[in-house]
């Protein structure tokens, strides 16, 4: 039986009818049309479906939608503000950290959660923070560079 659940998604309040078995990823993608959150392994191994729930990275393919009720949810669509890319998005673009782009939303949100906690992380901390996010294109090199650059406020640097 469906229940009514309240969420604040990317700053917007929603009241949604959700099934008890429905996953957060399904609500985000299918009910709200927020398809930036990606489905990949389906069992919490790859991090493609990562979103932030009250600022913490959560695997939305492993999370029942009802358990996230009354919480603040941030998806990749919620990072850019007023037409300006978020510093992490900007750094990912500028540093070539995006190839096919499928892991990118989850990767950026994992990095965002890290930078909230540790604004000036070491390379090891960055690697560890995205260790649950599989990327098959980049070898993680430019992803780690981009996160470090965003942390330094140096998200635009093409003349290395």
């Amino acid at each position: 039986m469906k229940t009514i659940a309240r969420y604040v998604v990317n700053g917007e309040p929603y009241e949604l009818a959700v099934e008890p078995f429905q996953l957060l990823i399904e609500v985000l993608r299918e009910q709200l049309g927020l398809t930036g959150t990606k489905h990949s392994c389906g069992v919490g191994n790859c991090g493609a479906c990562t979103v932030l729930v009250d600022g913490k990275p959560v695997l939305s393919c492993m999370t029942l939608a009802v358990t996230a009720r009354d919480k603040q949810i941030t998806t990749i669509e919620g990072l850019a503000r007023g037409g300006e890319l978020h510093p992490l998005q900007k750094a990912f673009v500028e540093y070539g950290a995006i190839q096919c782009g499928y892991c990118t939303p989850g990767m950026i949100l994992s990095a965002e959660a890290l930078l909230e906690k540790f604004p000036d992380p070491s390379e090891e901390q960055v690697r560890e923070a995205v260790s649950g996010n599989i990327c098959r294109c980049t070898g993680y090199v430019k992803i780690v560079e981009a996160v470090l650059a965003a942390a330094r406020g140096n998200e635009r640097s093409l003349d290395r």
């Binding site: 096919c100 782009g101 560890e128 996010n133 599989i134 098959r136 430019k142």
Partner: protein
């Protein structure tokens, strides 16, 4: 940069990067249409079985089930070869079309036997689980040697003793047996490799619908879009003009999307229901239902040398494990044996391969396409020879290096090679001599080792495959350009590279070039993106088309400026006179005047050119690995890795680095962790997700350094060659050679798991 380029060679950001960073980029699975159904596939739980009967009555009773496709409801649809080689593409080479949209006879675990379209995914899943199937299990084989034996269960009527293809080395030379007999030194080895799954982060997905005009619309991930349209036309007996095939963003390919994936089932259900249908594979389905890397049960290589290290003979016999259908897999042998000799002179060469059907998931192309396994063997044998001859591994490779003007791997004249530069740069940057020669303390369980390997690969598959690219360049009145092309946007930064090539020729900025793509109604024929060909071949067509448009623009500008066209050149969005630098016009002004000219002289500058590569400029690489081997656990880590590449001109060095860094992740996985396990007793695939199939994550990756030789090739657009696959090819042998340097043993089977390495370290 050896040339004075303004756009080519710069680290531009990709035109599609912002869309991907914000979640706006639309992948196949993100497409939603009104009234859309969701499809699910019923797959065989047995490696070899006949579907005797199928009862769908319980499944049909579930509300929301729209259609159930069984093998009895395929009508007059054709069977197909998902590798799309059942129709002319490779001269004299055909693969029998043996696969149905769903199959009555399952040839491998995971072979589709039925499919459901329903209002939502859960309903479709439930319906699939309620289809009652009466299977008759058949005897099965999982390895190639067993499959070839007399009395083994037959898999295909087109493959006697299950040998799908017996292929020979296409460019034999000399007398290899005589050369081996006369050699001062012969080194030989037998190597073995499992499958590797591409693990594209987006799984296979397709959306299809029949529009009001009766045309089949398909969003396909296929990296060979026009061939996919042709194949769908063939399967469903629909004329090509009634199919519109669109390419959305594709979440990785690495060769897997060179074959049909989710398209046939999604299209079939759309045709039957007349409603939009979406089919997205689960990760588990990706592991068993798609072509993955062709495994080899045996690759035996013999090399002959003179005392001074000169390579005199190369002979190989390969035994490949194809899986239930032939698909693209057989060519992995020919590609491998051919390209692995791309960088060494050798006067006596021979090789053959038996590519054998087995009751395992099908095999096809993955980055390297056989060259990675052949090179894994070759490069270890080169090291063995060097050791026996008392040479440095680098020197034996330099000794045998091909030179420009030699015959290249694919039988063509070698236009350029900077292989020796790759080695020199790598030796210096890695610190090869110091690292190899400094004595190491042998105490403790962790042993450190340093190894290297080299490789050569291709730029496109010509002349083996028939290839053809087209580009359309059109100037707009603001001086910008629409470039219509159809390479696969699988993450290789191809749109950016093409915009740079186009902009360089036209004296504009890369951001002035808008890529029009992804719709077979709009794009000219494009063979597609495989074999590291897009920058070279689609780039070649782009350059020619740009040149054609440029001539029109210059002619017009010449009239406007009153100078001869030959005196003009384009730069900074401006037409300049060489002889009179004061005479100039903005490109936008020339374009505007040409388009909005009402005196009978209106003109839209445009170029349309074809490019059919008759050249194949090989790329070269040198790879240097540092490893740590834990002699107690058998675990190998790679703290540092140096890659040096000759890919001609790096159109965008950042994109080139990205290819090589990404190839390193896949190469380390192939070398050490990615173990695709098929249970020999049951034929069941045991590794179908990332919990059991381990791909390297960020903490597993070495400190990676990439160096680009960056010297132009005479044939490629602005000197570019391909670079997609090289990232992968030399990794595993460099690691294997480093392991040998650390602990003195060789594991000749990939991946080099802790069990295998301990097995080699502790003789039983």
């Amino acid at each position: 940069m050896s040339e004075d380029y303004h756009v080519v060679g710069t680290r531009i950001v990709q035109p599609d990067a912002a869309a991907k960073a914000t979640g706006q980029a639309r992948f196949a699975g993100d497409i939603h249409l009104p009234g859309m159904l969701t499809a699910k596939v019923l797959r065989s739980p047995y490696p070899h079985a006949e579907v005797v009967s199928m009862d769908t009555s319980r499944a049909k009773e579930i509300p929301g089930v729209a259609y159930i496709l069984t093998p009895w409801e395929l009508g007059d649809w054709n069977t197909f070869d998902r590798g799309m080689k059942d129709m002319p593409l490779v001269e004299g080479y055909r693969v029998p079309p043996e696969e149905g949209v769903v199959n009555r006879r399952a040839r491998h675990f995971g072979d589709p036997v039925a499919a459901v379209a329903a209002t939502d995914e859960r309903t479709a899943e439930e319906a699939v689980s309620l289809i009652d199937v009466d299977y008759r299990e058949l005897p099965f084989v999982t390895d190639a040697a067993e499959s070839m034996r007399a009395g083994a269960p037959g898999i295909s009527p087109h493959a006697e003793r299950n040998i799908a293809k017996h292929l020979t080395y296409p460019f034999p030379e000399g007398d290899v047996e005589k050369a081996l007999a006369e050699a001062d030194l012969v080194v030989e080895g037998s190597f073995r490799s499992g499958k590797q799954e591409h693990c594209t982060q987006e799984t296979a997905a397709c959306v299809a619908f029949v529009d009001a005009g009766g045309r089949l619309n398909v969003w396909s991930q296929c990296q060979l879009a026009h061939l996919a349209r042709r194949e769908l036309s063939h399967i469903f007996k629909i004329p090509v003009r009634k199919i519109k095939l669109m390419t959305p963003f594709v979440g990785g390919s690495f060769g897997q999307r060179g074959a049909l994936c989710a398209e046939p089932i999604a299209a079939a259900l759309a045709l039957r229901t007349k409603r939009p249908v979406k089919l997205v594979f689960s990760r588990e389905e990706n592991f068993v239902g798609l072509e993955s890397r062709t495994g080899f049960d045996d690759i035996t290589i013999s090399l002959g040398f003179k005392k001074d290290g000169t390579l005199t003979a190369f002979k190989t016999n390969m035994l490949g494990r194809l899986g239930g259908y032939m698909g693209c897999g057989p060519m992995a042998s020919v590609i491998g044996m051919t390209l692995s000799m791309g960088h060494y002179r050798c006067p006596n060469r021979a090789g053959s391969a038996d590519m054998v059907l087995t009751n395992t998931p099908p095999s096809g192309a993955m980055r390297g396409f056989g060259n990675e396994f052949m090179t894994f063997g070759m490069e270890q044998l080169m090291d063995e020879a060097a050791e026996k001859l008392g040479m440095d591994p680098v020197d034996i490779r330099l000794k045998n290096a091909k030179k420009a003007g030699d015959t290249a791997a694919l039988g063509l004249k070698l236009e350029s090679t900077y292989f020796e530069d790759c080695l020199r740069v790598g030796v210096e940057k890695f610190g090869w001599k110091e690292k190899r020669e400094t004595p190491r303390s042998e105490e403790g369980k962790i042993k450190r080792g340093y190894g290297m390997a080299t490789m050569s690969h291709c730029t496109g598959a010509a002349p083996l495959y028939l290839e053809h690219s087209n580009a359309l360049v059109k100037f707009n009145e603001d001086g910008s350009v629409d470039l219509t092309v159809h390479p696969a946007p699988v993450g290789q930064h191809i749109w950016g590279a093409l915009s740079q090539i186009c902009a360089e020729e036209l004296g504009i900025e890369a951001e002035d070039v808008h890529i029009v793509t992804g719709d077979t109604d709009v794009t000219l024929f494009e063979y597609g993106s495989d074999a590291s060909r897009s920058t070279y071949a689609v780039g070649g067509a782009t350059l020619r088309a740009a040149r054609q448009a440029k001539e029109q623009l210059l002619a017009r500008a010449a009239g406007m400026l009153g100078v001869p066209a030959g005196d003009l050149y384009l730069r900074d969005r401006t037409v300049f006179s060489r002889t009179n630098p004061d005479r100039s016009l903005s490109i936008a002004r020339v374009c505007y005047e040409a388009i909005y000219s009402f005196g009978g002289k209106a003109e839209n500058f445009s170029g349309k050119q074809s490019f059919e590569p008759v050249w194949n400029s090989p790329n070269y690489g040198a790879y240097f690995a540092e490893v740590e081997v834990n002699t107690e656990t058998g675990r190998v880590t790679v703290p540092r890795f140096v890659t040096v590449i000759d890919c001609g001109t790096a159109v965008n060095p950042m994109a080139v680095e990205g290819q090589l860094e990404g190839g390193l992740q896949q190469g380390i996985g192939l070398a050490l962790t990615e173990n695709y396990v098929i249970n020999r007793e049951t034929g069941v695939v045991e590794t179908t997700n990332y919990d059991s199939y381990k791909v390297p994550t960020a903490p597993d990756m070495p400190a990676s350094e990439v160096y680009i030789v960056n010297k132009p090739d005479p044939k490629g657009p602005f000197g570019a060659k391909g670079v997609g696959e090289p990232g992968m090819v030399g990794i595993a042998p460099a690691i294997a050679n480093a392991i040998h340097n650390a602990v003195g043993v060789r594991v000749r089977e990939l991946p080099i798991t802790p069990e295998r390495l301990l097995g080699a370290l502790i003789p039983s």
